[in-house]
């Protein structure tokens, strides 16, 4: 899949933003007034910034409001609803915390759950696609949710929770890579089933339909970045999990905490880049590629 910067930014930033909103909704850290304002501003900046970025790749962003209509079948539509509801509920909760010094805990809990639901619906947009076996697994939502919770705990300064959550996310990431590498083969789809000619012999793509490229190849058959995938996996793993955990183990210091957040963010963005660049869409088979 083509790793569009808009989608990588969106899933990385809004995942982190909604993760922070989850902890703020539960009352961690128990802040109020201006300190709370800064926390909420960061969370909203990330969540809303990410959502805005996601509209950049649309052909017609001015019609984006129509995406709220098909929640009965479409995960993308459900994601839109969850995001708006989470932001509205958490906005009301934030007013209480920041301006009135009141913690409406029921509202906070609802907002926290809606924030997690938003991350879950985002992950389901990818998970539902049978055409991309590497995404079509239970581990995809597990990865999105564990990343969001770990990043949220880190940003919320919840060191004691952040360390185990980062370790869980790291474990899910490894499982995802291990299972994902075998997903296309395990799906049973190959050029034989794609053409229906597999029972007659070995099928080979002899000639493509056009001498040039096309939308399908640009969007679904991204092979350029796969060359360095192994190195990038190591880099993203170290940045997203190893370094932040080491920095958190050291005695607390605001500079080190900031470094841990920046490292985690860069690592998750790299992992997300790989999530797209390494995903094989079965349509590539028709072109003799994967």
């Amino acid at each position: 899949m083509h790793p569009a910067p808009s989608v990588i930014l969106f899933t990385t930033l809004s995942g982190l933003g909604f993760g922070l909103l989850f902890f703020l909704g539960l009352g961690f850290p128990a802040v109020s007034g201006w300190v709370a304002f800064v926390f909420f501003a960061i969370a909203y900046g990330l969540a809303v910034g990410g959502l805005m970025a996601s509209t950049f790749h649309l052909g017609h962003p001015e019609r984006a409001w129509k995406a709220f209509t098909q929640w009965k079948t479409s995960w993308l539509s459900r994601e839109g609803w969850c995001a708006v509801l989470a932001l509205v509920v958490m906005g009301l909760y934030a007013i209480g915390v920041v301006f009135l010094d009141r913690h409406w805990s029921l509202l906070g809990w609802i907002g926290a759950l809606m924030s997690l639901a938003t991350v879950f619906t985002t992950s389901m947009i990818y998970t539902q696609l049978k055409t991309i076996p590497r995404w079509n697994m239970n581990l995809t939502p597990a990865m999105f949710l564990s990343f969001s919770l770990a990043g949220g705990a880190l940003l919320a300064g919840q060191t004691r929770v952040a360390i185990p959550l980062l370790l869980i996310a790291a474990f899910v990431q490894i499982l995802y890579w291990k299972k994902g590498d075998k997903a296309l083969e395990a799906s049973g789809t190959d050029l034989g089933t794609a053409t229906g000619l597999g029972n007659r012999g070995t099928v080979r793509a002899f000639e493509p339909p056009h001498t040039g490229t096309n939308y399908l190849l640009r969007e679904f058959v991204h092979v350029v970045g796969r060359k360095h995938a192994e190195k990038l996996r190591v880099i993203s793993f170290v940045l997203a999990f190893v370094l932040p955990v080491l920095l958190l183990v050291l005695p607390f210091n605001h500079f080190l905490a900031l470094l841990a957040v920046a490292s985690h963010l860069a690592g998750v963005a790299t992992s997300r880049w790989l999530f797209f660049a390494q995903a094989e869409h079965v349509v590539g088979l028709y072109y003799g590629k994967r």
Partner: protein, 249 residues
């Protein structure tokens, strides 16, 4: 609405004969020609006369080589367009309701004025049947020439999809695959018509007819063959002398 109908009154679709297709790409050209100037936004090209031409097509013809365990390899031309699936994943993923499947004939269409160009329907299609038009920013796909098949302004012979009307080899057939007595359904039953990627669970309406087995050459072609065998076995006269002389050298 992006909820799929439980059933459609008819299942209009194509039957593509892989035995007959000669790979001439005439269906590709006629499809582009008809659809760029009729239903919906035109099918744009980018850098059409430059070094890297690329454009939107609703129908593309691939060519595959099949090498059986024994015998000669076979070249199979393979036209591919929207299969108008009964369980079309491209419809249910659409967030705006722009994608829909018609209850009356099962045709899958895009309402372009509702399309936000998110591309998710193309992601969900295993067949590469949908292409986002670069100039218009909306999703384009085969309409089964919905503006031809019911068009009473056209002579009756032309009320079939453009690709079917054009095919010089007669490799493309159009009809109601939901009616077991239709010509296309009989053809599918007779020739063992198949689905592409059945494991995806999309239940395509369009069917592909597999190539027929190749003829085998018998040792004796016909009863007159022995009589046509060459009579002179050893060269005689000048040729005989030449043969012997050259042999000695």
């Amino acid at each position: 609405m992006t909820q799929l109908p439980n059933s459609t009154e008819r299942k209009m679709g194509l039957v593509i004969d892989l035995d007959t297709c000669v790979g001439c790409h005439a269906c590709v050209i006629s499809c582009k020609g008809w659809n760029t100037e009729n239903y919906g936004a035109p099918l744009s090209d980018q850098d059409a006369y430059g070094a890297n031409p690329s454009g939107t097509f609703l129908n593309r013809v691939h060519s595959y080589e099949v090498q059986p365990a024994e015998g000669h390899a076979q070249l199979i031309h393979f036209p591919k367009s929207c299969l108008h699936c009964e369980d079309a994943p491209c419809v249910t993923v659409c967030p705006t309701g722009a994608s829909y499947k018609r209850t009356e004939d099962g045709i899958v269409l895009v309402n372009e004025s509702d399309c936000i160009g998110c591309g998710l329907c193309a992601w969900s299609c295993p067949y590469g049947a949908r292409e986002l038009d670069k100039a218009e920013g909306v999703m384009k796909k085969c309409t089964l020439c919905v503006d031809r098949i019911y068009n009473e302004n056209l002579p009756e012979v032309d009320r079939i999809p453009s690709c079917v009307r054009t095919c010089p080899a007669g490799a493309r057939h159009f009809g109601d695959l939901g009616d077991p007595d239709s010509d296309v359904s009989k053809l599918v039953a007779e020739r063992g018509g198949m689905d592409l990627m059945p494991e995806m669970g999309t239940k395509p309406v369009n069917k592909y007819l597999p190539p027929r087995p190749k003829d085998t050459v018998e040792d004796q072609i016909d009863i007159l063959a022995p009589l046509l065998a060459p009579v002179a076995e050893e060269p005689k006269g000048f040729l005989g002398w030449l043969d012997k002389t050259l042999e000695k050298l």
